[in-house]
């Protein structure tokens, strides 16, 4: 039976050699290699649940009056988009489950990608020949940021509208071209022309997912063509030879198990843990906003940066050149993207190391990179933390303005401290290991 099936495929597609190779493709084993896979499975579930949501969503900001089953909002004026999501949440069986699972999956998707990037960065997996793979991964990360933002903007609850207003302000703040770009994207001044929501919708459900899917395919093809990196675990794992378990039978049930586990966690979260209770926020109107509004976690660094910048527009002789939201909302993410994207080339230039690298470094093995990376991460993380200063004011009663001033100083001081602490720690760890291996000579000889 199996033979007949494989023969059928082989005679028509000539695929047998490829399939045989794929079955015996070697996967090195380390828990941190699973992070990228988790992101992949989140993406699959995002597409699946997302397709379901599209069958109920209406992409219109035309105003209507609510008459549905949720009593606190009855008689309120709201957009058809928001009404359709209320309908999906309250009237469609399994609708809320799918919506919440979709939202949770988006949050976990971004978390998995971020952790994956950190793993790749701190182990030097981005080095030649995988620098291009890494760049494509970064492109996916930043596309995913935008995709997630579009997703929760479509709902048109109060949070959506506030987020879109900020997005519009950031677009407008781009020097010289900002006003033109903002009007172009929104089809007119905020909240935009009636075409704006359909545009955002098609971007969220078709254009961006296609971009991510294309990048994802390319990413995986490149990974497979150069094979996985590996840690130096035994004398058999070298720069020339990869050691691990084959796709089949060893890796397949492991990967499937991970996929189902990811689905399990996401559906349990979607069913049992409330996320984005849009009916509590209420519909968006241009003249309304609420206190305590926070974006999804993966945009926290941006809201923090927007809040940290002191109040000034860059003006030259009375002419406004750079409006304020540019610094936190555009320059900050652009700098982060550029630093990450140029890192492999910068490192190659500084170290003069142009060789192929299939063996990973442990973070301590490269003290400079680890320390700089940790400092950079701290810089972003403090931006993220400052975005929650208003919540800290509510919970702990700390003065908001004082917190912001503290962050304005800390965001430059702490990364420098982190750099020296981490570099020292890495060097001490390596030195300590050397002492250990001198004591334990026999083990040293095995290597």
């Amino acid at each position: 039976m199996i033979r007949r099936l494989v023969r059928f495929v082989d005679q028509r597609a000539g695929a047998a050699p490829f399939v045989r190779k794929a079955l015996r493709y070697v996967f090195p084993d380390h828990w941190s290699f699973l992070l990228g896979e988790v992101a992949l499975y989140c993406f699959i579930l995002l597409v699946a649940t997302g397709v379901y949501l599209t069958l109920f969503f209406e992409d219109s900001r035309a105003q209507t009056v609510y008459h549905g089953p949720y009593k606190p909002l009855r008689g309120e004026s709201m957009s058809r988009a928001y009404e359709s999501v209320l309908h999906l949440s309250f009237d469609v069986k399994a609708g809320l489950l799918m919506r919440q699972t979709h939202h949770w999956a988006a949050n976990v998707f971004l978390a998995a990608i971020v952790l994956h990037v950190l793993r790749v960065f701190f182990t030097g997996a981005f080095r030649k020949p995988r620098d291009l793979t890494y760049l494509i991964g970064l492109a996916m990360l930043f596309t995913a940021f935008l995709e997630g933002y579009l997703g929760y903007s479509l709902v048109d609850d109060l949070l959506s509208g506030m987020g879109l207003a900020i997005g519009y302000a950031v677009a407008l703040s781009l020097p010289v071209i900002g006003a033109n770009l903002g009007l172009l994207l929104w089809g007119g001044p905020f909240p935009g022309s009636p075409s704006f929501f359909p545009r955002m919708y098609i971007a969220h459900v078709l254009i961006f997912p296609l971009i991510i899917a294309a990048l994802l395919t390319l990413h995986l093809v490149l990974v497979a063509s150069r094979h996985h990196t590996q840690f130096r675990e035994s004398p058999k794992t070298t720069e020339k030879q990869v050691v691990g378990i084959p796709t089949f039978p060893g890796q397949a049930p492991r990967s499937l198990g991970l996929m189902f586990a990811v689905f399990a966690v996401l559906f349990l979260l979607g069913g049992l843990v409330q996320i984005n209770p849009i009916w509590l926020w209420g519909p968006y109107h241009v003249g309304e906003a609420t206190n305590g509004a926070q974006p999804d976690w993966y945009l926290g660094w941006l809201i923090g940066a927007l809040r940290l910048v002191p109040g000034f527009d860059l003006t030259i002789g009375g002419y406004t050149l750079v409006p304020n939201p540019f610094w936190g909302g555009a320059l900050f993410p652009i700098v982060i993207l550029l630093v990450l994207a140029l890192w492999p080339w910068a490192e190659r230039k500084v170290t003069g190391d142009d060789a192929f690298h299939n063996l990973l470094e442990r973070p301590r093995d490269n003290a400079w990179r680890t320390a700089l990376g940790a400092a950079f991460l701290t810089w972003i993380f403090l931006g993220f933390m400052s975005g929650s200063a208003d919540r800290v004011t509510v919970w702990l009663g700390l003065d908001y303005a004082a917190q912001i001033w503290a962050y304005r100083v800390l965001i430059w001081v702490v990364p420098v401290l982190v750099f020296f602490i981490v570099r020292r720690t890495c060097r001490e760890l390596v030195a300590w290991e050397r002492i250990q291996s001198d004591v334990d000579l026999p083990r040293r000889h095995v290597e």
Partner: protein, 317 residues
Amino acid sequence: MSRAKAFLIAALVLLLGKRRSKRELPEHRIVPPGSPQRRAETLVLLLFGAVTACGVAFIVVYAIDQLGHQTQWLGLALGLAFALLALACIVIARRLVVTEELAEPYPEDHPDEVETIEEILDESGSRFTRRRLVTLAGTGALGTLFLAALTPALSLGPALDTRALTKTPWRRGRRLVDESGKPIAAADIEAEAFYTAYPEGADRELIGSPLVVVRIGPGNGGVVAYSKICTHAGCAIALYRKPTFPDTQPGPALVCPCHYSSFDPARNGKVIFGPAGRPLPRLPLEIDRDGNLRAAGNFSGPVGPSWSGVRQRGARS
């Protein structure tokens, strides 16, 4: 009945019976042999059974209309189904599937092939005598065509005409109305309170429409109105003083909850804290014969977030 019994017995035999491999093992194997793991196998069967039960539960929960907390039960059923399935896969991976360790050489680059490709490309152009010129002209042609293909994107919005940004529905004599559409009397504006107002008979979903009205002093002259849209990032000014300022700080502030830009209503909307770079635009007011608030003109500056050159522009009706 007896047939059902026969099926049951057959199923049990299939499930629990010791199956003998009829084929002789071939001498040469690709995947190394492993010894049977019957307990693990039984566990996998049980797990698959439990997954089936969870699947059935999901369908049943879906079908029952009068069930409370349906979302939770559905999520639980589906989540458990996948969790058990994951567990089954893990048991298969750890106990039932032979896990070999393979070693494979890393792929290398192909300098010879690279050279051949370069040669093919190089030698193919022997008929061209003005190579650089042709390349230049070709690049120019394709580049222009690319730009031409992008041009229709300008139809998305009024990209070249930014006057739309300064237009507001306010003009001299337009009445201020509250959320329910009723006119607002100056005498009804109380101190330490915060009022939202809209232009009578105009679209409220315009960035230039909503106002905040507060009292900063006694009498008709003590009522002031500002655009409700923050000049930083375009959110609505929804807070009056708190939580940014402790009660001990003098003077109230209009605060945007997005990034906590704070504006002083007593000093023409001056920024007193936060990232906003421009004061809040103020709307001049007048009071009609009925004592109701009306606009006495347009805002003191463009409404909403700033753009390059915003200070050279004014609000227009």
